[in-house]
C-alpha cells in the first residue's frame, strides 16, 4: 500500500526514535493508529523503536504516563517529550509534530483513515 517507500533514504545518522503507542484493545480506531504509526516507523527502519501498549492489559502503564485518551503516541526520544492523540489519520501532521525524518522533498502518501475527520 505504500509503493514509494524508499528505505535507504531515511536519515540513518544514528538518531534513534523511541515511540510508545497506547491503545485500547482491538478497537478499530486503535488498530488504525497501530497501522498508521507502523508504516511511518517502517520508513525509519532500524532507527525507530515502537512499543504498542494496550491499556486494558496494562492500566498501570497508562496511569504512570497519565494517558487520558487513546490512541496516544509518546515520543520518548529524541527529547523533548511529545504527544499525539488520535488515530493518526493525517501522516503529514504526525511527521511534522513528531519531527520524523522523511525522504527529502518527497511526500509520503500513507493510508489515510476514512471518515474520521476531527479538529
Amino acid at each position: 500500500m505504500t509503493p514509494q517507500v524508499n528505505e535507504g533514504s531515511a536519515q540513518s545518522n544514528g538518531v534513534l526514535y523511541v515511540l510508545a503507542l497506547f491503545i485500547t484493545g482491538q478497537s478499530a480506531r486503535s488498530q488504525r493508529a497501530v497501522a498508521n504509526l507502523r508504516s511511518l516507523c517502517d520508513l525509519l527502519g532500524e532507527n525507530c523503536e515502537l512499543t504498542v501498549i494496550d491499556v486494558l492489559e496494562r492500566p498501570q502503564a497508562a496511569e504512570d504516563e497519565r494517558i487520558l485518551a487513546t490512541p496516544t503516541v509518546i515520543r520518548r526520544r529524541p527529547l523533548p517529550l511529545r504527544r499525539v492523540i488520535g488515530d493518526l489519520s493525517d501522516p503529514d501532521k504526525v511527521i511534522a509534530w513528531l519531527d520524523l525524518p522523511t525522504p527529502a522533498n518527497q511526500r509520503t502518501p500513507l493510508p489515510v483513515a476514512e471518515g474520521l475527520i476531527n479538529g
Binding site: 497506547f22 485500547t24 484493545g25 478497537s27 480506531r29 486503535s30 488504525r32 493508529a33 491499556v55 486494558l56 492500566p59 498501570q60 497508562a62 496511569e63 497519565r66 494517558i67 487520558l68 485518551a69 487513546t70 490512541p71 496516544t72 523533548p80 517529550l81 511529545r82 504527544r83 499525539v84 492523540i85 488520535g86 488515530d87 493518526l88 489519520s89 493525517d90 501532521k93 504526525v94 509534530w97 483513515a113 474520521l116 476531527n118 479538529g119
Partner: protein, 504 residues
C-alpha cells in the same frame, strides 16, 4: 444503607451532614450524579467530601481530577480535616491524575476516545476496592480537547463505563452563571441525577444553597436548602423543611427561675418548650435570661447562655448585680457562657456553632440573648430558617429554650424578630415600659403559653438586687401593648396608688 421502595433503586448515604435528609437517604447507589454550580460554589469540596465521608466509614475511593493537581487538592482540603495522604498510604484513596501537564505538548490528529482514562479509573477502583468515585470537573475536559461534539460523546461513554463498574459516582461541572441554562447543558443528559450548588449574594450577604434538580426514579426534597462550609467538617446542609415534627411534647414543668413568673405561666415553663421574651432595651430581657439560667443551675441542670449583645464580663457583672453567681455556676460545671459577635460569621455558621456547643455541653436549658442581634446580620429568609432549625434542634433534645428579642421602640410595638418567629415559639412573654404619672414603670404579660392556662393580665414588675419581682396588674391603664398607655379616670387614682398594698 437505606433501602428505598421506589422501583428498586437503592440509596447510598453520603454522610455529608444534612444532605441525606434532603436526598431522602442519599445518592442513588451505583449511579452517577452530576454536581453543577458556578465557580466557588463548592463542587470540589462536595466531590471530595463524598469520598472522605465514605472513607471515614470504611469505604475506599477514587478521585479523578481533570483540573487541579493531586498535590493541590491534598493541600486544599487539609483545613477540612481530611488527610488524603494518609488514606493514600492505607490504599483507601487513589488519585487518577488527569490534570493538564504544562510541560508536555500534545496535538490531536484524528479521532480518539477516553478509553485510557476509563481503564485507569477501573484499575484504580479494583486496586483499592472503591465503592465511591468522584470526577472533577468535566469542563476541564472540554477546554482540553477542541472538538466538543466528540468529547461529549466520549463523556457519555465514560459515564456509562463508570456505571458498569458498580460504583456510586459524582461528576462535577461548572456552569457559567447561576441561571439554569448554560452552553454545556447537554451534560445534564449525561446523568440521571443532577444537583445544583449556588453561591449568591442576597442583601449583601453570601448565601450558599444546594438543590437536587432531579433524581431519576427516586424521591428527594425539592427546592433550595442553605448550606455552609466549615473548617474540620466541610459542607453542612441545613435541611429545614426536611426536619420532621416528631418532637414529643412534654408536660413536665420547669421553673423559669422566678417564682412569680412561674405563677403567671400556670406553674412554670414546659420542659421542651421555646419561650420568646420580647421587650425594648432595658426592660429586663437579660435579667430573664439570667434568672432562667439561675433556675436551671439551682436544680443542677446544665445551662448554656449564648450572648450576642454583651461581653462575658458584662453578663457576669449583670448577674452579680441581681444576686446570681455565674462564676460559681461555671466552676460547678453547670453553666457555660459563650459570647460571640453576630458579625463574626454568617448566620448558618452561628447555627452550626450553637449546635456544636449544645452537643458538647449537653445542656438542659439554652438561653439566647438576643435573637435580634443575629437578625441584624442575616436576611429575613435565612433568619427564619435559622430559628426554625434551632427550635427543632433543641426540642428534639428536650431542651428548654429562652430567646430574647428587642423591640425597636421604647413603648409598645412588636419587634421584627417577633413577627418573624412568633408562630414557631411555644410561649411569648412581653416586657414593656409603661409611662404612668410621669414615671417609667415596667410591665410584663404572658401573651401566649401553648398548652396551658396562664395569667392574662399585664402586671407591673420591679427590678432590684435580688432580681425581678412581679406585682399587681395595671388595672387602670389601657393601651400598654399598643404603646399608648392611657390612665384611668381620676377616680381610679386612689386605687392605683395602693396598687401594691393588697390584692383588691
Amino acid at each position: 444503607m437505606s433501602d428505598l421502595a421506589t422501583v428498586g433503586l437503592q440509596k447510598l448515604a453520603t454522610h455529608i451532614p444534612g444532605f441525606d435528609l434532603i436526598a431522602m437517604g442519599g445518592l442513588t447507589r451505583g449511579r452517577t450524579t452530576l454536581v453543577t454550580g458556578a465557580a466557588g460554589s463548592g463542587k470540589t469540596i462536595f466531590a471530595t467530601q463524598f469520598l472522605a465521608e465514605g472513607i471515614a466509614r470504611g469505604d475506599s475511593a477514587v478521585f479523578v481530577t481533570f483540573e487541579e493537581s493531586p498535590r493541590d487538592i491534598r493541600q486544599n482540603v487539609v483545613s477540612m480535616g481530611w488527610d488524603i495522604e494518609a488514606w493514600e498510604r492505607q490504599n483507601r484513596w487513589i488519585f487518577v491524575d488527569a490534570s493538564p501537564e504544562p510541560s508536555e505538548e500534545t496535538l490531536v490528529i484524528g479521532s480518539f476516545d477516553l478509553g485510557a482514562l476509563l481503564a485507569r479509573i477501573e484499575h484504580g477502583v479494583r486496586r483499592v476496592g472503591a465503592t465511591r468515585v468522584s470526577i472533577d470537573s468535566l469542563n476541564a475536559v472540554f477546554t482540553r480537547f477542541q472538538d466538543s461534539g466528540s468529547i461529549r460523546h466520549e463523556l457519555l461513554r465514560l459515564v456509562s463505563g463508570v456505571r458498569e463498574l458498580g460504583v456510586t459516582a459524582i461528576l462535577t461541572s461548572e456552569r457559567p452563571t447561576d441561571t439554569l441554562d448554560d452552553h454545556h447543558s447537554v451534560e445534564e443528559f449525561v446523568t440521571d441525577n443532577v444537583i445544583i450548588l449556588r453561591n449568591t449574594l442576597e442583601a449583601e450577604k453570601r448565601r450558599r444553597t444546594i438543590e437536587i434538580l432531579k433524581f431519576r426514579g427516586t424521591g428527594h426534597q425539592k427546592g433550595e436548602f442553605p448550606f455552609t462550609v466549615l473548617p474540620n467538617a466541610g459542607i453542612v446542609v441545613i435541611p429545614l423543611s426536611a426536619i420532621q415534627l416528631t418532637q414529643k411534647s412534654s408536660s413536665v414543668r420547669i421553673t423559669s427561675g422566678n417564682q412569680d413568673l412561674d405563677g403567671l405561666c400556670g406553674g412554670g415553663f414546659f420542659r421542651d418548650s421555646v419561650i420568646l421574651v420580647s421587650g425594648a432595651t432595658g426592660t429586663g430581657k437579660t435579667l430573664m435570661c439570667t434568672e432562667f439560667v439561675g433556675g436551671g443551675t439551682g436544680v443542677t441542670e446544665r445551662c448554656l447562655l449564648l450572648g450576642f449583645e454583651e461581653s462575658r464580663e458584662q453578663l457576669f457583672r449583670n448577674a452579680d448585680g441581681w444576686g446570681r453567681d455565674f462564676a460559681g455556676m461555671e466552676r460547678d460545671g453547670l453553666l457555660r457562657v459563650s459570647c460571640r459577635y453576630p458579625e463574626s460569621m454568617q448566620l448558618e455558621d452561628h447555627l452550626l456553632q450553637i449546635k456544636r456547643d449544645i452537643e458538647e455541653f449537653k445542656p438542659a436549658r439554652v438561653a439566647v440573648d438576643s435573637l435580634s442581634a443575629l437578625e441584624r446580620v442575616s436576611t429575613p429568609r435565612s433568619f427564619r430558617e435559622f430559628v426554625i432549625d434551632l427550635t427543632s434542634f433543641i426540642k428534639e433534645r428536650e431542651i428548654a429554650g429562652l430567646f430574647t428579642a428587642t423591640t425597636p421602640s421604647l413603648l409598645g410595638g412588636e419587634s421584627v424578630t417577633e413577627s418573624h418567629i412568633s408562630t414557631i415559639t411555644d410561649s411569648i412573654i412581653l416586657l414593656r415600659y409603661v409611662e404612668l404619672y410621669g414615671e417609667m414603670r415596667r410591665g410584663i404579660t404572658v401573651l401566649k403559653m401553648r398548652g396551658s392556662p396562664h395569667d392574662k393580665q399585664i402586671r407591673e414588675f420591679l427590678i432590684d438586687n435580688a432580681g425581678m419581682h412581679i406585682g399587681n396588674p395595671f388595672r387602670n391603664v389601657t393601651g400598654i401593648l399598643a404603646g399608648n398607655p392611657r390612665q384611668a379616670p381620676a377616680a381610679e387614682l386612689d386605687r392605683v396608688e395602693h396598687l401594691f398594698d393588697v390584692e383588691p
